[in-house]
């Protein structure tokens, strides 16, 4: 550590610079922790390149497997997913993809008989974790209360309303789990979501 006029100077280890693909002149950010230590983050800008993946689907592949693969890509942080069939998509395959796309808050950006490109339009860097969980809990709690009320009053209309709300909870669940998985690999996102105490 050497001394400047109003601050002290330390140099960054070369292998850390190489690991984070940093060069002279690049910007790093510092964060003061509760225990008074300083954490150095490589510039966050390089990290927000959208992750894309191509899924190759056989014409005979079951809808459940296709859906599971799309969910897995979504949870692992891919923003763009290209789904390419070896022949053409069957009607049940196309229907299953459309349903899961809606469930994951994604959009179909391009589509033809053999391929589809789906994309998430949510910017996770602006998301906040605890309000999202609170909102999910509010729906879940109202479902529990209404299910009990429909049991007490034998109200099947209310029971049907409860049943239809389950998809909304799933929407939130997928989104929050994606956020948490991304945060596990991204310390900047961990800081933004206040996951680091």
């Amino acid at each position: 550590m050497s001394l400047g006029r109003s601050s002290s100077v330390i140099s960054l280890p070369k292998n850390w610079m190489q690991l984070n693909e940093l060069k002279k002149g690049d910007v790093v950010s510092l964060a003061l922790q509760r225990d008074r230590s300083l954490v150095i983050f490589p510039s966050a800008e390089k990290r927000i390149e959208p992750k894309e993946i191509t899924l190759h689907v056989a014409s005979s592949e079951g809808e459940t497997l296709i859906v599971r693969r799309i969910i897995s890509c979504y949870l692992n942080g891919y923003s763009g997913i290209k789904i390419a069939s070896d022949k053409i998509f069957s009607v049940p395959q196309r229907k299953a993809i459309r349903n899961i796309v809606r469930m994951l808050y994604m959009r179909i950006m391009e589509s033809d008989s053999k391929s589809m490109y789906i994309q998430t339009l949510i910017d996770e860097s602006k998301a906040s974790l605890e309000p999202a969980i609170q909102r999910m809990h509010l729906i879940s709690h109202s479902m529990c209360t209404d299910a009990l009320n429909s049991l007490k009053s034998w109200d099947t209309t209310l029971a049907k309303a409860v049943f239809s709300l389950d998809d909304d909870v799933d929407h939130f669940s997928f989104f929050i789990l994606r956020l948490l998985r991304n945060a596990a690999q991204d310390s900047v996102l961990q800081m933004n979501l206040a996951l680091i105490q």
Partner: protein, 133 residues
Amino acid sequence: MDHQTLVYRVEHAADYSADVARHIIMLGETQQKISENILTLMSTAGTEAVDLYAKAVNAFFSKDVTFSNELLERQKKIEKLDQEIASKAFMSRQKNALLVCAICSIRDDIRKIADCAADIAEIAINRAYKRAT
């Protein structure tokens, strides 16, 4: 990790309540009703389980250890009610298979909502003593 477990439990609580609703719809379509004494017990256990669940989530965010521990104690009351519902369902004169199955499933769903609440209360306690990183 704690948040991930919380999200899973909240999702499960919603799934169990959707399952209760599904059974009510099914019984409604077949014009069958649960007897009044079993329904009263189910309603008491259900109200207790849902209250436990809501308070457990609040305790998670407030990191209230004492309250979380009280919630875990209250779960025992639901277990007792659960056994009472089971014995009434099997000992009653209702021998309709569909009705008995529905009672068992709803009873199971209520117990599982209480289990979710207990899991959340447990994470709330563990989280409260987590060391700062």
